[in-house]
Amino acid sequence: MKELPTFLSRRDFLGRSLGTGLVLGAPNILRAATSGGSDKIHVAIVGFGKQAEVLFNCLKNIPGLHFQAVCDISKSKLQRGVGQIRVHQGSAPKGYEDIDEMLAAEKGLDAAIVATPDFWHSPHTVKCLDAGLHVYCEKMMAHTIDAARDMVHAMERSGKLCQIGHQRRSNPRYRYTLEQLIHGKKICGQIVNCNGQWNRSLGASADIGGEKLHKSAIVPTEVLNRYGFKDMHQYMNWRVYRDLSGGPISDLGAHQIDIFNWFLGVAPKRVYATGGNSYFKNREHFDNVMCLFDYDTPHGEVRAFYQVLTTTSYGAGFYESFMGTEASIKISEISHNSIIYREDGAPNWDDLVARGFLSRKAVPAPPPPSADAVASYESAPPEAFDLPGGFNKPAHQPHLENFFEAVRGKATLNCDARHAFESEAPIFWVNPSALSKQPIEFTKEHLHV
C-alpha cells in the first residue's frame, strides 16, 4: 500500500522524543548485519512453560526455522517441548536443564527465544547475546531496572538483535491506528487523556498448583533451589513474589503502559500510584494497583490512568483508550473490544469511511433519557466507528515474524531492548510510588539506561 505514508518513522519518533527533552535513545542494532537469505535459522527455546507454548504455536507458522535445542529445569516441560517440536519438524531437538550447558554444547545456534520467569529474563538474555545469539525475550524485560539495563548493554556490546515481547508493537491494528489514524488523519485532534486497564477475575488470578499438582510436574527441591526458587509454590507462582517479578503492574500493565508511551511518543514526567492487598492478603505484590502518569507531549499535557485489578473481571477486560478533543480510540488485542468514537462537532468522517480508512460500527440505540437525568448536562452521544479490518494470526506471530525478518536482515526490530527499556522504565517506579504513597518525579536516573 505504497501511497499510505508511515507518519511516524522510528527516526521521527526519536527526534520528537528528543525534542521534548526526553532521551529515547537510538538503538544500536535494529537488523542483523548480514542477511541469512533462505538459510534455516537455528533456534533454541529457553523455558518451555505456558508462554513458550503460546510462542511456539506462532513459531510453527513461520517458515525457515529449525528448533535445535530446548532448555527447561522441569523434566515434564522439557519432555513436552521436545515432543511438540518433534511432532512439528520431524526431528527432536536436544533437551537441556541448564542454559550454560546448552550454550556450551550447541554449535550453530542463531537465535534464542527466552520465555523463562521474569527474574531469569536478564541473565538468560545476556548469556545468549554474549554467546552470539540474537534474542527474542518475553516482556517484562526484568524484575529490576538494573537487570533490564544489563540487557540493553549486552545487546549493544554483542551487536546482536534483542527484541522484547511487547507484541502489540507489531500488531497490524495497533500500527495502523497509530500511523494512519492518529498521526496521519489526526482523527483524535489533541489527545488529552489516556485510560487503560487489565481487570482479571479471582479465578484467573488464583494460585497455580497446590495439592492437585501431578507428581510428574513436581521439580525436585534441590533443582528449584539451584535456580532461585524456594519451593514449588514459588516456582509455579513466581509472579506474586517481589524477588522474582514486578507483580501485576509489570506482568499485565507493562503491555499497556508501553502502548501509552509508544502512541504518545514520549516518556512520562511523573507517576502517582496506589495499591493494596485487598483480597490476596498474603501476597508480596499488591493485588490491585492504580496509577496516573503525567506527560508533556509536543501537543500539550496528557494524563494517563492505568489500573490492574486481579480481583474482578468487571469492566470489559483489557484495553487502552486515547481520548482526544475530536475522537477517542479504544483499542485492544481483542478486536471486538475496540471502538472509535467521533465527538459531536468534530469534522465529518464520511470521506474516511468511503475511502476505507474506517468503517461504521453498528451500536445499539441509546436508551431514552431517564427522569433523573439532567438533559442539559449531557453531551450528544458520539458516533461509533471501527478499524477497517482485523488480522488473522495469533497475537504474538507478527512480532516474532518481525524478529526473524530482522535476523535475516530484511526488517528492523519493532521493539528492540533499548526502546523497550525506555518504555518500561516508568513501570519500574509504579510499585515504589504505590508503596510510599508518594508521586515520583522522573529524572534521567529513573528512566535512562
Partner: protein, 190 residues
C-alpha cells in the same frame, strides 16, 4: 334413546375381528413411525455433535483495500467463516476442560483419553443408529456415553446440562422400548 357412546369411543371387546386387525395394523404403523423418528433424531444428534467437534473458524487471508489500494499492514477482512478440519478437533470444550481438571474425582489419565475418544465415538454411534447397525447395542452405548457426560456435569455443577442429558436418556429408553418396531435396518442382530 340410542346409545351414542360407542361411536366416539369404540369398545375393542365389541369390535369384529376385522376391525381389531386393522386397528392393530394402524397402531403398528404408528409405532414403526415413532421408532423411526426417534432413531433419526438420536442418530442425527449424535452424528452432528461428533462432526461439530471438528468445527472451527478461519479468517480471511485477503488483505483489505484502503483508499483503493491493498494495505501493507496485514489488515485482513475481519469476518471469520466456520469450517471443519482435523486440526480443530476438541472432544471436551476448552472451557469445561479446565473445570474438569480441577475435580479431585476426575482421574488424571482419563480426561485426555475421553477428550480423544468422545468425538469419534459420537460419529460412529450416529452412523450405526442412522443406518440401523446393531441398533439396540448402539443405543445402549449412546446411553452409557450420556451417563458419562452427565457424571462430568454433576461434578462441575452444570445442572442445566444434566437435565438436558436426562431428556436424551428418556428418548434413548423410548427408542429401546420401540426397538421391536425398528425397520430398514442393515444389521438387526444386537
Amino acid at each position: 334413546m340410542p346409545d351414542f357412546s360407542t361411536l366416539s369411543h369404540p369398545n375393542p371387546n365389541t369390535m369384529s375381528n376385522e376391525e381389531t386387525c386393522c386397528s392393530k395394523d394402524h397402531n403398528q404403523l404408528a409405532l414403526i413411525f415413532g421408532s423411526l423418528l426417534l432413531r433419526l433424531w438420536l442418530g442425527v444428534r449424535a452424528l452432528q455433535t461428533g462432526i461439530e467437534k471438528f468445527a472451527g473458524t478461519a479468517s480471511s487471508d485477503a488483505a483489505i483495500k484502503i483508499d483503493g489500494e491493498t494495505n501493507d499492514y496485514g489488515l485482513t477482512a475481519a469476518e471469520s467463516v466456520k469450517n471443519y478440519a482435523m486440526d480443530h478437533y476438541h472432544g471436551v470444550p476448552q472451557a469445561l476442560m479446565g473445570k474438569f481438571e480441577k475435580e479431585p474425582l476426575m482421574p488424571g489419565f482419563g480426561l485426555p483419553l475421553y477428550d480423544k475418544l468422545l468425538g469419534p465415538t459420537l460419529l460412529i454411534l450416529g452412523i450405526t443408529i442412522l443406518l440401523g447397525i446393531a441398533y439396540r447395542s448402539s443405543l445402549f452405548v449412546l446411553g452409557l456415553l450420556y451417563i458419562s457426560l452427565t457424571w462430568g456435569l454433576i461434578l462441575i455443577k452444570e445442572d442445566g446440562g444434566v437435565a438436558w442429558l436426562g431428556i436424551h436418556m428418556i428418548m434413548i429408553v423410548g427408542a429401546l422400548a420401540l426397538a421391536q418396531y425398528n425397520r430398514l435396518a442393515i444389521l438387526k442382530k444386537w
